[in-house]
Amino acid sequence: MAKTKIEDINRNIYDIKNEDEYEFKIEKGLTPDIIKEISKQKNEPDWMRDFRLKALEIYNKLELPTWGPDISELNMNDIATYVKPKSKLNSSWDDVPEDIKNTFDKLGIPEAEKESLAGVGAQYDSEVVYHSMKEELIKQGVIYTDMETAVKKYPGIVKEHFMKCVPIYDHKFVALHGAVWSGGSFVYVPEGVKVDIPLQSYFRLNSPEAGQFEHTLIIVNEGASLHFIEGCSAPKYNKVNLHAGCVELYVKDNAHLRYSTIENWSKNMLNLNTKKALVGKNASMEWVSGSFGSKVSMLYPMSILNGEGAKTEFTGISFAGKGQNLDNGFKVVHNAPNTSSVVNSKSISKDGGKCTYRALTRINKQAKKSKGMVSCESLMLDDISISDTIPVNDVRTETAEFSHEAKIGKISDKAIFYLMSRGMSEEDAKAMIVRGFAYPISKELPVEYAVEMNNLINLELEGAIG
């Protein structure tokens, strides 16, 4: 059967495993000595080393969450928290070592940079191996670099913001992140600067039984705007990998930030990522999120609307296949008058996969005349898959408007028959219905990710019917 080009891509590009080569891989487990060694390898200032040690103490005191998916198989003694790739930070792709470059080539990263991006960062295991940005943005004072460089070059800004938006005592995996964080991106957009084309960071975890703990810190100053894209993937191993990144976003007054993510980790990954944005007066924060890979995902980006008239929008989709438990959602706190939030979430589950939408909308007493709107829709492709919606809506002022709408459904046999009567196979028909269901979300994604998402849907549905 003739297939369109889009469908021809297969998952193999994500599953390319390079030799587990590295310059340095920390011994597995978590002890103060291991933390000190990571800090030493990074040649960090003392304040950061002390911060890490404090975070480790907190990590040891905090309990695992008592709700959500089972993550008891995670044993930190089996995880190498720091894997330094055999590469320095480069500003030219030509200087990136061949095997690493090939991986990113196949994922289409350098190509995307040429065509549609203002800047690119690429992280391989624990360190960023490539960073570059267009000249005109540098002239306008935009900073886009890896977190390690930022710690050394801009200690003032980093100290003021680093883990202030997401404090280390938030939960156990944030504390872990504080202790072992490595890599990630630092973006600083000065007042009034509009970055018209997106910046993109791509995170790739190659090493088995390792963790990736990148830290992303973005500051969009008064009246500035930015679109930041984050892509994540890893090849499949039989052992558990852990991703506990942290994203801190500061959207100052009248600023605008759009943060798009595709998390396409392999299915042995525990994805315990923490993302939070502080949104100022009349500022707007848009989240666009696609969650496909990983074995377990606990991902609840959060917007805190601190300034009057602040806005946030969350558009997200999760796709859980066999053996996957994706516990995703969105949290928003309205702290000022006339703030608004719009949530549009979709999930798809198949082959016994489980999707849970877990969310919080809190409109505090001082958030007079604020508006909240939540809509979530789930699609189950068979009888063994699970879909659940656990929203917490906490509205503390009578002047607020809030609405919540939830729909759970299955693909109808009638719709499949209708499409089959137009010459499509059962698989094609299902894939078309699923792509259509996902379309309101996929159209918000950067185009190459929307294509990737459709590929993944087709891939997931291929051979699904006996």
Binding site: M1, A415, F417, G423, I433
Partner: protein, 249 residues
């Protein structure tokens, strides 16, 4: 030359545990327009669904042959690719899939050839104009928010684009106003030629006045009880089916 296109032989079909078709026979040749009329519950829509092998309808006896091949147990999509099209009584809504993308994909599947976008869009525009469909519908989600009449016209649009050998129209005219019925019959006239055939399933004769059917079959209680010409349809319009219900006993 064998001009036979469809042959249904002693077909028995069950739906929801109930026997609906009880020994149905039907022969359609190329170049012909056939009409099946019959009271509610006589098995008209079941006939259409059985030809396309809808899995909700279980065949317990008989065969269906199309263009010389036995398609009794073929999969619906294979039957569609062999050249049978069915216009649905209640077309399904498919959110997020535009009319254009849907039809482009379907045409690719039915013809097995890549679809040239530019030519395809022009073809689509031309048909939409003929059928009085607003061009903005090209980018709208398939059937979502369409009125009853718009859905039926969209079915005819699909018929023209996919250009099958046999078109089965399952109550395409029901619930349509006079103008919409004219548009639908215009579409069928555009489709019709000497090499293909049309099977119209209907309740009323309005749609038939323009189309001049070659054969009219009366289906009662799962069997064809009488076959005639257009005159028979007119007789039914005047006198109803009671005569044939009695004759059956």
């Amino acid at each position: 030359m064998n001009s036979n296109l469809l042959e249904i032989n002693d077909l028995y079909v069950k739906a929801e545990e109930k026997e609906i078709l009880k020994g149905m026979n039907l022969k359609i040749n190329k170049g012909e327009i056939h009409v099946i009329m019959g009271p509610n519950g006589s098995g008209k829509s079941t006939t259409a669904n059985a030809i396309l092998n809808n899995p909700s309808y279980i065949k317990t006896n008989g065969t269906i042959t199309f263009d010389g091949e036995n398609i009794t147990n073929s999969k619906t999509d294979e039957i569609a690719r062999k050249g049978i099209f069915m216009s649905f009584q209640l077309p399904e809504e498919i959110p997020g899939v535009s009319v254009t993308n849907f039809l482009k994909y379907a045409k690719n599947k039915v013809t097995g050839k890549p679809v040239k976008i530019f030519e395809f869009k022009n073809e689509l525009k031309k048909y939409m104009q003929e059928l009085n469909i607003n061009p903005s519908y090209m980018e709208r989600s398939l059937n979502v928010g369409f009125s009853g009449g718009e859905k039926k016209k969209n079915e005819i649009l699909q018929l023209l684009v996919l250009n099958p050998k046999l078109a089965i129209l399952d109550e395409t005219d029901s619930g349509l106003d006079v103008d919409a019925i004219k548009t639908v019959s215009k579409g069928i006239e555009m489709f019709k030629n000497k090499k293909n055939a049309v099977l119209i399933i209907t309740h009323n004769t309005k749609i038939l006045s323009n189309l001049k059917p070659d054969y009219v079959h009366i289906l009662v209680d799962g069997k064809i009880v009488k076959t005639g010409t257009y005159e028979l349809a007119k007789e039914i319009e005047e006198n109803g089916y009671s005569k044939y219900r009695i004759e059956k006993k």
